[in-house]
């Protein structure tokens, strides 16, 4: 960050290309997401959304171009360092099946702390211990003590998503990426979940990238972007 200057973007994509089996799925000349921004990224299934998330997460390597996260060029990092970067700075929420069935609720939330010392440290600073931070987040997201004691398999989808959100938020990563987190929820649960999630993000002043095909949810966000506006590859939606 340049002192006294404009803060650099949280995520920046430059001439990014990616091909599956020789066919281009991603061709993005330019895309930028600012720090603390709440972005609604809309795109139907098959539009390259999953690939894009993989690229941003550092799990997939682009065929050409750059992904720059928090001033760090991902291509400059080795595979292991990228994994560490992801653990340190990014939290993920997926559409469903977010939790590991062989761990209990608290252990699921604490997973990122096992892989990132930075986030573990921050959690301890925030709440005294990692476990306390986990409980605080779960409470803030609307989960009662009874749910905490249940095995993961017995939680409702809505409850599972809240646990996933707590896991993504623990240790205050700078960037939160949510991939259709409400698609498996019913109407009521959807609104309440979104409200709580955004409230937490505001508290942490982190960047939120919310990917969804449901344009109705865009009202919650300050900026909306259609994936086909930035991705030059036009793919027919797979239904």
């Amino acid at each position: 960050m340049i002192p006294g200057g404009v803060p650099t973007p949280a995520i920046q994509l430059r001439d990014l290309r990616f091909a599956w089996n020789g066919r281009d799925t991603i061709d993005i000349p330019q895309m930028s997401i600012g720090r603390g921004e709440r972005l609604f990224l809309q795109g139907p299934s098959g539009s390259g959304k999953s690939t894009l998330l993989g690229l941003i997460g550092g799990v997939l390597t682009p065929s050409a171009g750059e992904v720059v996260m928090l001033d760090q060029r991902l291509s400059a990092l080795s595979g292991a360092r990228r994994d560490r970067f992801r653990a340190d700075h990014i939290g993920f929420i997926f559409q469903q099946f977010n939790l590991l069935p062989f761990l209990d609720v608290i252990e699921n939330v604490l997973l990122p702390c096992r892989f990132s010392r930075r986030r573990a440290e921050r959690a301890r600073v925030e709440a005294g211990s990692e476990k306390s931070q986990a409980r605080m987040l779960l409470e803030a997201l609307g989960l009662d003590a009874e749910a905490l004691a249940k095995p993961v398999r017995e939680l409702s989808v809505g409850q599972q998503q809240r646990v996933a959100a707590a896991r993504a938020l623990i240790g205050s990563p700078e960037i939160l990426i949510a991939d259709e987190p409400t698609s498996a929820l019913d109407e009521d649960a959807r609104a309440s979940f979104l409200g709580l999630l955004i409230a937490q993000c505001n508290r942490e002043r982190g960047t939120l990238v919310f990917v969804s095909h449901d344009s109705g949810l865009a009202t919650f966000f300050e900026r909306k972007l259609l994936l086909r506006e930035v991705n030059r590859v036009v793919t027919t939606a797979v239904n």
Partner: protein, 400 residues
């Protein structure tokens, strides 16, 4: 769970086979114990062992009574038990010997013969039978039996000289069980009016008359020797092998038994190979189980990746899982084997002369277990490799 059970059973089988092999060898090696030398007419050492101890096959020649007296008169000799073979009773071998046999013949861990009923023979026409004979033919003490000349399918009865069972031996798990014992004099008596295996017509001698004839044997088939000191064994063996008056052969029972056992080595190894294949089958079962659930677990792997896990960790987790399953299977197998041995011990000893130790696994067994453990880990590498490849390809969002 099922995987562990499968591996457990196959491991128990593998170790069980190894133990049976070991016990059978030890049991076999102690078919006759406490005897320093076995002496017979010169032939092959295994041949001598087979017909004198196992009652398999026949001697090519006899040992003259003269030679027997001469050798057993040597100062180094502590005791001697003569054996006269050649007759049978309904498929069981008849052994002519003297009363010393019952006290001198040892087996297993220096165990002596015991009578489950009755007494050793005293009268010329007394017989003592082994446990298997009594069981199969349902003979009680007092039973009257007729011996037959010859051991093959063509035999001729000594019908004019019936015998009476006066004693039944307790089970030993050795060839003793399948033998009928009579005195040397009895053998002489029934062959008084025979020559070259044929009854002489017109010269029949009644049973009673035979009792009063001179029943000193002219020849025996073989004899067991016990020496006063172990160190004299080789010298004695050489003496007998070089005996000028008659071609004789003296063998050390232990050595001959080892030789015989090594002939059977092929069968031993075949058994072990089969057991090993069962273990492989069990491990392959584990492999199948891991591979089938692999697809369902791609979601879990994607989650771990999202949270910062390296692909190598995913690989490691799957190998570790395979290894744990194998180790639990091994423990289960050991437990299963211990139970089986505890249950079958007594029965195996009585029926087959095999002793099982419930001691901890031997070095050979330990090696087998180590091989199984390593194999389990190696097999785990296959699904682990697939998982590794999947995570690299899937990215963060599994293509559902």
């Amino acid at each position: 769970m099922l995987t562990i059970a499968t591996i457990g059973v196959s491991v128990a089988l593998l170790l069980g086979v190894e133990q049976v092999r070991d016990s059978a060898r030890r049991g076999f090696a102690s078919t006759v114990a406490g005897t320093d030398l076995i002496v017979g007419a010169r032939s092959g050492s295994i041949n001598l062992l087979l017909y004198s101890v196992f009652h398999i096959g026949d001697a090519t020649n006899n040992v003259t009574w003269q030679s027997y007296q001469d050798i057993t008169a040597q100062p180094e000799v502590a005791w001697a038990v003569p054996l006269s073979l050649g007759d049978s009773h309904r498929g069981f071998r008849v052994v002519g010997t003297d009363a010393d046999f019952f006290s001198r013949y040892h087996y297993g861990a220096q165990r002596a013969l015991a009578f489950s009923d009755g007494v050793p023979f005293r009268d010329v026409y007394d017989a003592v039978i082994g446990a298997q004979v009594a069981e199969k033919l349902h003979y009680p003490v007092g039973q009257s039996i007729v011996l037959a000349h010859g051991t093959g399918p063509l035999t001729a009865d000594h019908a004019d000289k019936p015998f009476r069972v006066v004693g039944i031996l307790a089970r030993t798990g050795t060839p003793v069980d399948a033998s009928v014992f009579v005195s040397l004099e009895a053998i002489e008596a029934i062959h008084l009016d025979w020559q070259s295996g044929v009854r002489l017509p017109g010269q029949a001698i009644s049973a009673d008359a035979a009792r009063h004839a001179d029943l000193t044997p002219k020849a025996i088939t073989a004899f067991l020797l016990g020496l006063k000191s172990r160190t004299a064994v080789f010298a004695m063996q050489r003496y007998i092998n070089d005996y000028e008056d008659e071609p004789l052969l003296a063998i050390l029972p232990g050595v001959a038994l080892q030789e015989l056992w090594s002939l059977l080595g092929v069968a031993e190894n075949a058994l072990l190979i089969v057991a090993a294949m069962v273990v492989v089958a069990g491990l392959l079962g584990m492999l199948t189980a891991l591979l089938t659930t692999l697809n369902e677990r791609r979601r879990e792997m994607a989650i771990l990746r999202a949270v910062g896990a390296r692909p190598s960790l995913i690989f490691f987790l799957l190998v570790a899982e395979a290894e744990f399953l194998t180790l639990f299977g091994i423990v289960a197998g050991l437990a299963l084997l211990a139970i089986a041995v505890a249950v079958a011990r007594a029965w195996a000893q009585a029926h087959y002369g095999m002793t099982f130790d419930i001691a901890s696994p031997s070095a050979a067994q330990g090696l087998l277990l180590a091989c199984v453990a390593v194999a389990g880990g190696l097999i785990g590498c296959l699904p682990a490799w697939f998982a590794y490849r999947y995570t690299l390809a899937d990215g963060l969002v599994q293509r559902l």
